[in-house]
């Protein structure tokens, strides 16, 4: 929903002021930046580190950053890092315990984070992904204290998507390219007729920060240009999910022959789960010091593609690659709905671009849908 207030127009130099305003308010800014040939999310000191003039060409199994003629800063898509890394860290301590000389045990909970994050320039699909993590990790009976300590109080500056990549399919998942909720400030990058940003507040905190930036009220033509840019982006998205309820498709496809087909290509490397902004699964381990008296209970990202993931005494439940790919995809598109009341996929396309085998979740869904039709009497 567009806010009632007139959007503001910020010049290309306004991003520096935004960084300053956020840092003044105690935030650590996390935003896109070019690193080792890819646009990643990282802690940034200044707006100068934003990937000005870079976007990426993506295809199944392919990601190449590309220089652009214009100075677009938010033309990135499907980079290998998502906001997940910051709010659900790859490694975290859940507790530590010390065994005292008298045999008793003193325990402490997770470390409190030292930083408060402001995400700048993340796209609407990534905001949707944060919403998914909110539900999974913080919306149940036991909110995850590591997650809530990092997520509560984050500031979000979403950049509406105007340059989708070939791997994007947010329109199928209802998560983009427009920003509708879950942000403090939404900006739309405008390139034609001068590099500038349309900005609107999405929360009192956002409106307050916006008021601290050099800006002018946006004119009707700027607002129209922003709307048109987002509409062009929506029209440019070429990948789609099958047009049918995906949870029902996944349930009906449990014994589909397609799993054997995808298994012949999948390397079970787990890249898809690592780059996915919603894949949340973790494992734990106890680490002790040399004396054995001090224990740290560590949590780290895990992947349903690993054999150990389903280990029970006597052996893993999911030994075949087919069963592990089925678990991942059925969870993303199907059982997530039953577990958490929402889709586990936001259509960001990262898993497509970063799969070394070029496996494409939209193509697999289409194949399952086709196989189901063939099956029907």
């Amino acid at each position: 929903m567009r806010s009632e207030e007139t959007p503001r127009l910020i010049g290309a130099d306004g991003l520096g002021a935004l960084f300053t305003a956020l840092r003044d308010r105690g935030y650590t800014v996390v935003g896109p930046t070019l690193r080792d040939g890819a646009v990643v999310l990282a802690e940034l000191d200044s707006a100068g580190q934003l990937p000005s003039g870079w976007s990426a060409d993506t295809e199944a199994g392919r990601y190449r950053s590309r220089r652009r003629e214009d100075g677009a800063v938010f033309a990135h898509c499907a980079g290998p890092v998502s906001a997940k890394t910051f709010v659900h860290p790859p490694r975290a301590r859940l507790w530590s315990a010390d065994r005292n000389p008298d045999g008793s045990v003193s325990a402490a909970g997770p470390d409190a984070p030292a930083k408060r994050f402001a995400f700048v320039g993340v796209h609407p699909c990534d905001i949707a992904a944060l919403g998914v993590l909110d539900r999974v990790l913080a919306g149940g009976e036991h909110p995850d204290p590591v997650y809530t300590a990092r997520r509560d109080g984050t500031f979000v500056v979403v950049a509406e998507c105007t340059e989708p990549a070939a791997t994007c399919f947010c329109t199928s998942m209802g998560t983009g390219p427009a920003a509708t909720a879950g942000f403090d400030i939404a900006i739309t990058e405008l390139l034609d007729g001068g590099h500038r940003f349309l900005a609107r507040g999405g929360s009192p905190a956002g409106t307050e920060v916006l008021a601290a930036l050099p800006s002018v009220p946006a004119g009707a033509e700027d607002t129209a240009a922003a709307t048109a840019a987002v509409e062009r982006a929506a029209a440019a998205i070429s990948r789609h999910m099958p047009d049918e309820p995906l949870p029902a498709l996944m349930t009906a496809s449990r014994e589909s022959p397609r799993w054997a087909d995808v298994a012949s290509r999948c390397l079970t490397c787990g890249n898809c789960t690592m780059v996915c902004p919603t894949c949340f699964c973790t494992s734990t381990e106890d680490v002790t010091d040399l004396t054995g008296q001090h224990t740290e209970h560590q949590r780290h990202w895990d992947s349903c593609f690993s054999l150990d993931f389903s280990y029970l005494h006597g052996g893993p439940v999911r030994t075949s690659t087919a069963s592990r790919y089925r678990q991942w995809m059925s969870h993303k598109l199907g059982t997530w709905q039953e577990q958490f009341g929402m889709s586990g996929c936001v259509g960001c396309g990262r898993c497509i671009a970063w799969c070394p085998a070029g496996i494409d979740i939209t193509e697999e869904a289409a194949a399952l849908a086709a196989a189901r039709l063939e099956d029907a009497p």
């Binding site: 008793s104 325990a107 999974v136 036991h142 449990r254 699964c281 734990t284 106890d286 439940v317 059982t335």
Partner: protein, 269 residues
């Protein structure tokens, strides 16, 4: 924070059940945890080794009992812990057996191996309120006679219920039946069609047991099973305990058979 940081408990009693299985009684060192309902489980921590899901297998006053079979690093450390040692406990987690719904019905309890541990509180609850239930049949199977749990308790149960045991391999002068626990089902003096059943054991054993129960006319809606998957947290965060749409630490481990049936049918789900 209880659910995340293990709460220190002292082992105040340790009974050897079999060559690899013990039952421990735990007393909180400081704060106590909420009471466990039959079927629920704890995450037990052997400090420095790890934590694993272990069902509540009974209680002594307010103190929970847990029966632990040593099969790997963590269960071995928990099994070896001596009275006086401190271990960590988180919980209670998961769903409970719905014993109340069996009131007025004949009751069939079927256990395979360590599966008798989470069922012992069911038996005790039923026998404590004996007149509220009809006939009661308790069937337990194990690989060998020496692996049958709770000999003392079974003798007591036998005064108020039909208790039958079977083993895969006879030994030690075993005179009882040899074979699958499913073979005991037809011989029980119960009205199968009006019975409620509680089943726990290895997944294949549960599947064949339920088929045998259904064949004798036990209604599917009155059969409960306790399912097992890898669990790293017990809190619904780690994703390991998924079985299709279920997160077994949250939606299980105890589920009605109509929910479990389509999931148990699919290999490697």
């Amino acid at each position: 924070m209880n659910a995340v940081v293990p709460v220190p408990h002292r082992i105040v009693d340790r009974r050897v059940d079999t060559a690899d299985t013990v039952t421990v009684e735990l007393a909180p060192v400081g704060e106590a945890l909420p009471a466990f309902r039959p079927g629920q489980f704890a995450m037990l921590t052997a400090y420095g080794i790890g934590d694993v899901p272990i069902s509540v297998s009974g209680r002594h006053g307010a103190r929970p009992l847990h029966t632990i079979r040593a099969v790997g690093a963590v269960t071995r450390a928990l099994h070896d812990a001596a009275p006086g040692d401190v271990i960590g406990v988180r919980g209670p987690f998961g769903t409970a057996w719905d014993v109340a719904s069996a009131a007025g019905h004949d009751v069939i309890v079927v256990a395979g191996g360590i599966g008798l541990a989470p069922l012992r509180p069911v038996v005790e609850r039923v026998l404590a309120d004996r007149s509220a239930f009809g006939r009661v049949a308790i069937l337990a199977g194990a690989r060998e006679p020496a692996e049958l749990l709770y000999a003392d308790a079974r003798r007591q149960w036998a005064t108020q219920a039909q208790v039958r045991t079977t083993v895969d391999r006879a030994a030690d002068g075993w005179k009882g039946p040899v074979g699958l626990v499913t073979a005991l089902i037809p011989g029980m003096d119960v009205d199968h069609a009006a019975a409620a059943a509680f089943v726990c054991g290895p997944e294949a054993m549960m599947w064949f047991t339920v088929q045998a129960l259904l064949e004798r006319g036990v209604p599917a809606a009155r059969i409960q099973v306790s399912l097992e998957r890898n669990m790293r947290c017990g809190l619904g965060w780690c994703g390991h305990c998924q079985l299709g749409p279920l997160l077994l630490c949250r939606d299980g481990p105890v589920v009605g058979y109509p929910v479990a049936e389509p999931l148990m049918r699919v290999r490697e789900l």
